[in-house]
């Protein structure tokens, strides 16, 4: 009976994450959307645990549930949005194309999953020791994937600059208090 537990867990949490996603879609109040996004993201973290990706599960919780959704909630509060009236479902060309694309991807992917996956790992062959552990991921991250890691630093820097430039109230600082002038100040006296 014991080996059934992971299966039960899987069904429970994947159902939870899909339910969370559906709630994001249908909810009127953006705040409840954010909450259901948290539910969906956290249940994903638990699915990662099932896949013995320990480091990722914790990272997911911290990054997604902790940071990104908080950002969403912060902005929702900032702009104090009202309920969005879902009533009038305007039928626009763009929406139909999108819906069609979505359904098509689902159909395209679903049968392939069933059919074509060779069974490399029958059932749950025990994951190699330390498979998902932080050490393994860390060694890989700084070993083989050093350049992508450095590139993320540039990516995040530009995202920060973009955020500041777009959101800051007034850009040109009135009083230019610069280090160099301050240094030069010593010699001017």
């Amino acid at each position: 009976m014991s080996h059934l537990l992971p299966d039960i867990l899987f069904y429970v949490f994947s159902a939870l994450s899909v339910a969370g996603a559906v709630l994001v879609l249908v909810n009127r109040n953006p705040m409840t959307c954010a909450m259901s996004l948290v539910v969906s993201v956290l249940s994903l973290a638990i699915l990662y645990l099932l896949l013995s990706a320990h480091f990722l599960a914790v990272a997911q919780m911290i990054v997604y549930a902790g940071a990104i959704v908080v950002l969403f909630i912060f902005v929702i509060m900032l702009l104090n949005l009202t309920d969005e009236e879902l009533g009038r479902f305007r039928f626009s060309l763009f929406k139909t194309i999108g819906a069609f694309v979505a359904v098509a991807t689902l159909l395209a992917v679903a049968p392939d999953i069933r059919v074509s996956i060779p069974a490399p790992a029958a059932g749950d062959a025990g994951a190699p020791a330390g498979y998902g552990s932080t050490k393994a991921v860390g060694k890989l991250l700084f070993g083989e994937f050093l350049l992508p890691f450095e590139l993320t630093s540039i990516l995040i820097l530009s995202a920060m600059v973009a955020g500041v430039v777009l959101a800051k109230r007034e850009l040109q600082p009135k009083k230019t208090h610069s280090l160099v002038d301050w240094l030069l100040g010593f010699f001017r006296t």
Binding site: D112, L155, S158, A162, V180
Partner: protein, 484 residues
């Protein structure tokens, strides 16, 4: 490597501006130009020297192909930077961050053409597009600008979602992220592989603005400040082609089993050209018209890619590289003229604004005429040679109906390009009843340098296209070396 110069320069500008804020910001402009210049020279030098180094155990490969693309991209962004200072100062948003963001984006592009691995490709693409989302919305007070950046962002994020899922499926099918052994995935898990491939293609087509996915291009081009539009129309359009060609050739290969993407591309190429040209016809706004014409041009480039993939020959790909190079020159010039006459609050976008330009500013009108004629592809100019090479290879590759459509499209495009010239030369202010007033607040030396360079480039490279082609052929051959 070139990317390193760009990143360091970007950070340097940021620091400098924080420490020593000065009104004119000229220093940051010079640093940007220096960085772009030296990365341009290094990539050209390495291209000729045939340096082929694989870094970071396979994640990136700076071979001839990557160098050629980084050269084109650096050239395009130098032209975009040259056109920026005057325009931004007028709008009061002349910040050093503009150049820093631009440099980060160029750094992403250079790595994008060199990426050998799926995740590296994805990251480079993001480093490329996130600064551009911000640049489009740079003039925050301008209502159009923020709205354009929002639209561009939503569509871009949507494309990223598709890309991630495509990468997931391809990774699953092939078991490893490297481009070279993606093809093994086709055998292992065909269903997944094809689904992943289509998703990846959808993501790429969003980025280059091919027809079924190009809702963002006209709005983003018109809404963004003109120097950003210049940057977008050239560098941000050329880079995804670099990555796409690499993924298609190296990753998906040519053999029949995987040659699924060729017919798909044919349809998309035809669609892109026709819709791009037809919609451009009805435009009154020159900037938006340029947006549509850039869609049409990406259609021509798709034709070039198809020909190169069918013939699997290096010089067909060289034609594509050459066309990209010429396209960059033409576009930069055309936008440069628009910037020259843009006034503080009202950009001279509409065609009527240009009426009677020939009488007031003969030189500017002549330059604009050169750009427009070259865009349509008239014989003496480089535009013609670009199209000529691509179409000749396409015919050799057997895509004859495609070429006929392409030529028809060029004829159609001639109409709306010439409409601008007609407005400038043959119609005076009496027709539009408005005094042809041209806000000419003095030129910025950068802008003029850019305009003259592009005009000279178009004239010169039109006739002597040989040296360029040789370089391009060298680059293309290195790509085919990797594609077994």
């Amino acid at each position: 490597s070139p990317a390193l110069h760009l990143a360091v320069a970007g950070i340097a500008i940021m620091l400098l501006d924080a420490l020593w804020p000065m009104r004119s910001k000229l220093l940051s402009v010079w640093i940007t130009l220096a960085a772009l210049g030296c990365s341009l020279t290094t990539s050209l030098h390495r291209l000729t020297a045939g340096v082929d180094v694989t870094l970071f155990n396979g994640a990136v490969r700076m071979d001839g192909y990557a160098h050629a693309f980084s050269a084109i991209i650096c050239l395009a962004s130098t032209l975009a930077v040259l056109s920026a200072p005057k325009y931004l100062r007028l709008r009061g948003v002349h910040l050093a961050e503009y150049y820093a963001l631009l440099l980060f984006s160029v750094c992403g592009m250079v790595l994008f053409a060199a990426a050998e691995e799926l995740i590296m490709l994805f990251l480079a693409l993001e480093t490329l597009s996130i600064p551009v989302y911000c640049l489009v919305g740079f003039t925050r007070t301008n209502v159009y600008s923020t709205e354009a950046s929002m639209k561009y962002f939503v569509i871009g994020a949507f494309a990223t979602g598709f890309l991630v899922y495509g990468i997931a499926l391809l990774y699953g099918a092939a078991g490893s992220g490297y481009l070279v052994d993606l093809r093994a995935g086709a055998a292992r898990a065909p269903g997944l592989f094809y689904a992943g491939m289509t998703l990846l293609l959808v993501g790429f087509l969003f980025k280059i603005g091919a027809v079924p996915f190009n809702m963002w291009t006209p709005d983003a081009y018109e809404g963004a400040p003109t120097p950003v539009t210049t940057f977008m129309a050239e560098a941000v359009k050329a880079a995804p082609f670099g990555g796409m060609i690499k993924v298609l050739f190296v990753g998906f290969g040519f053999d029949a089993a995987v040659g699924l993407w060729q017919p798909a591309l044919v349809v998309i190429a035809v669609l892109t050209m026709t819709v791009g040209n037809l919609t451009a016809l009805v435009q009154t706004d020159v900037k938006r018209m340029m947006g549509y014409s850039s869609i049409a041009h990406s259609g021509y480039i798709l034709v070039g890619i198809l020909a190169a993939s069918k013939l699997q020959s290096a010089d067909a790909l060289a034609a594509v590289l050459y066309y990209l190079f010429v396209y960059v020159l033409m576009n930069a010039g055309a936008f440069g003229i628009l910037i020259l006459f843009s006034h503080k609050d009202k950009d001279t976008n509409a065609v009527e604004d240009l009426t009677g330009l020939a009488r007031e500013r003969p030189w500017a009108a002549a330059l604009m005429a050169v750009y427009m004629l070259s865009l349509t592809g008239l014989p003496p100019l480089a535009g013609f040679f670009g199209k000529f090479y691509i179409f000749s290879y396409a015919v050799k590759a057997g895509y004859v109906p495609l070429v006929i459509i392409a030529i028809l499209n060029s004829v159609v495009s001639a109409y709306y390009y010439l409409k601008v010239i007609v407005a400038m030369y043959f119609r005076g202010p009496e027709d539009t009843g408005r005094a042809a007033v041209f806000h000419y607040e003095g030129y910025s030396v950068f802008l003029l340098a850019m305009l003259w360079f592009t005009a000279w480039g178009i004239l010169y490279y039109g006739i002597h296209s040989e040296p360029q082609l040789a370089l391009a052929r060298l680059a293309a051959s290195s790509l085919f070396a990797t594609a077994p």
